[in-house]
């Protein structure tokens, strides 16, 4: 069985600022780490690997330094990593990202299960998984709260919708995106960290894949970001409640009565 886990590298903190002159995001000095939600995806794959001796391949599209997150995932226990890196891929939105990932998965070949994190914490969309599923014509189970193999060629998952708990059974190949609640990602052991440097990390560029150039990068991205700004929390005119808790509570009760809330 072969499992591909799609991972993204994101800035270490979400405290990004906006350059006052260029109005662009200022990410200088922010180290990259594996998207925290993708660690849950890697962990899930490793648990399935323990149960079935599956091969776990990590896949990421991004600049060369994303290799760091592939190493991190291999130090957790994944078998190999594939980095999709090319200037032609840059500036991709979720659609163009999903396209290249889908083409790469087709090239990896014989993939039984593709696991995604619930969302990337920088863009917060959660779209890439379903897009890849559609491009590969595979069934999808999003926001899985549990996931297990239930047959030689079958997974069973539970999914918590707003109103319903669903149990789904999918024939492989299938695409699953996981909720962060389903597991606690393991830490790399020193031995696995050492091993990770001997595991294969392959880089594929534009010419290594079968690609329609009109679907790549910025040109292949239907959406454009026209403005970025820092949200300003709405400030209110604060009326202090003062004195002892009893005094303050009676001031509040009067104020709420005046506002017809009591």
């Amino acid at each position: 069985m072969k499992i591909v886990v799609c991972i993204k590298q994101v800035p270490e903190t979400n405290d990004v600022t906006i350059d006052p002159h260029t109005h662009n995001l200022d990410r200088r000095g922010l180290a990259g780490v594996m998207n925290p939600f993708d660690k849950n995806a890697v962990e899930q794959a490793l648990q399935l690997k323990a149960a079935t001796d599956a091969e776990v391949v990590l896949l990421t599209m991004g600049p060369d330094d994303y290799a760091q997150s592939l190493r991190e995932g291999m130090a957790m226990g994944a078998d190999s990593g594939v980095l999709l890196s090319d200037r032609a891929f840059a500036g991709a939105d979720t659609l163009a990202t999903g396209y290249v990932l889908a083409q790469a998965i087709a090239k990896i070949g014989d993939v039984d299960l593709i696991i995604f994190g619930r969302q990337a914490v920088d863009a917060d969309t959660g779209q890439v998984g379903p897009i890849v599923a559609e491009f590969l014509h595979q069934p999808q189970i999003t926001y899985a709260a549990t996931l297990r193999l239930s047959g030689p060629n079958e997974v069973t998952a539970e999914r918590l919708l707003e109103d319903t708990k669903q149990t789904l059974v999918a024939q492989l190949p299938a695409v699953v995106s996981v909720r962060s609640e389903l597991n606690t990602p393991r830490y790399p052991t020193p031995r696995n960290i050492q091993l990770s440097f001997t595991k294969p990390l392959t880089t594929w560029h534009h010419d290594d894949l079968d690609l329609d150039d009109t679907r790549l990068g910025q040109a292949g991205s239907p959406t454009i970001v026209t403005k970025v700004y820092a949200p300003t929390p709405v400030k209110r005119a604060l009326t202090p409640l003062t004195g002892t808790p009893q005094e303050a509570a009676s001031q509040l009760i009067k104020a709420l009565k005046d506002r017809q809330l009591l």
């Binding site: 800035p11 906006i18 979720t94 659609l95 914490v121 920088d122 863009a123 917060d124 969309t125 959660g126 779209q127 379903p130 897009i131 559609e134 491009f135 595979q138 069934p139 999808q140 189970i141 999003t142 069973t156 999914r159 918590l160 919708l161 707003e162 109103d163 319903t164 708990k165 669903q166 149990t167 789904l168 059974v169 999918a170 299938a174 609640e181 239907p222 959406t223 454009i224 026209t226 970025v228 700004y229 949200p231 929390p233 709405v234 400030k235 209110r236 604060l238 009326t239 202090p240 409640l241 003062t242 002892t244 808790p245 009893q246 303050a248 509570a249 509040l252 009760i253 709420l256 809330l261």
Partner: protein
């Protein structure tokens, strides 16, 4: 020349309409003015009448497709049905709730249509016929305006409770039916579906909320808060750290990664006021906060504030409710 269509895809929640649908219809009719034809697309079973719950919100048209497989259909099947409807009508814009369901179907549909989809939006407007969608990123630390200039339909999912649903007195939407061919996907089956029993109102639609943070997390305080919530006819909500306790879940959480709420009244106890929390509750009508730290950011976002101990204030308040 007929008007461009602005669609809201209706979502079912058990045997009812998911409230986000009604919120989106209200917003869509406001945005539409005379310029767009607002259509609510409803996929329902032959015996359903969910249109009755949509009609008061006054879209121009409710377009119904009936098939008994819809209530239990999977994402790919629903995306396929919507693709057929879109190919037939060429809407300008398609809106979904950013619920788990919406966020699962919309990107599949996007891939079929090869168009743009902006996720989890907090605001929408039109520049002529181009949708300008405001989306938070980096955990709500940054807002982005995103457009899809060249391809149609342009699509967005909108965070639940971002807009307020308002019924209209004189709403008379046209009710039409449309047809699609249902293409079953054999490889995925829903084998069980149990309703999550939660008959009480959720923090998302309570009109009074008592919110607890890390500074109001002990047994006694939670007990007092429960009494207070009962007295006010409201619900308890929590900041994120409290969802680590067994008694609270993600459904009780207020904030960017939880519920966006706008109750008439919210009382915040022991909550510092991180931006991720504030965005979830800053549209509440009246905001009261109690915190022992006079410099807690929550005060700048509050109408009334008390610097002091949460438990002491709650006790005093409970004593004065006759």
């Amino acid at each position: 020349m007929s008007k461009p269509e602005l669609w809201v895809v209706a979502e079912r929640r058990l045997d009812h309409i998911e409230p986000t649908t009604q919120q989106l219809i209200t917003k869509a009719t406001r945005l539409a003015g005379d310029h767009f034809h607002v259509v609510t697309v409803l996929l329902e079973a032959t015996t359903d009448h969910l249109e009755d719950e949509l009609q008061p919100y006054g879209p121009d048209e409710i377009r119904i497709v009936r098939d008994d497989r819809f209530p239990t259909a999977t994402d790919a099947e629903l995306a396929d049905a919507l693709k057929q409807l879109i190919d037939a009508a060429h809407p300008n814009t398609v809106l979904f709730g950013a619920t788990i369901t919406g966020r699962s179907i919309a990107p599949r549909l996007q891939a079929k249509l090869q168009t743009g989809l902006t996720a989890d939006c907090l605001d929408l407007r039109f520049d002529d016929e181009t949708l300008v969608a405001t989306k938070p990123s980096y955990g709500d630390n940054i807002m982005c305006e995103i457009i899809c200039p060249d391809r149609r339909p342009q699509m967005a999912t909108v965070r639940p409770n971002t807009f307020v649903a308002q019924p209209q007195a004189d709403a008379t939407p046209a009710i039409t039916t449309a047809h699609i061919t249902f293409h079953p996907v054999a490889r995925l089956h829903v084998t069980a579906a149990t309703p999550v029993v939660n008959t009480a109102t959720t923090v998302g639609d309570a009109s009074r909320v008592v919110a607890l943070g890390r500074g109001a997390a002990n047994e006694d305080t939670i007990a007092s808060a429960t009494q207070l919530a009962e007295k006010l006819g409201g619900r308890i909500g929590v900041s994120r750290p409290l969802t680590d306790q067994d008694r609270f879940t993600h459904d009780d959480q207020i904030g960017q990664s939880g519920n966006t709420i706008h109750p008439d009244l919210i009382l915040n106890f022991g909550i510092s006021g991180a931006v991720q929390y504030l965005v979830g509750m800053q549209d509440s009508q009246t905001i009261v906060s109690v915190n022992s730290d006079p410099n807690a950011p929550i005060f700048a976002a509050s109408d009334y504030g008390y610097v002091g101990d949460a438990q002491a204030f709650m006790t005093a308040l409970l004593a004065q409710f006759a």
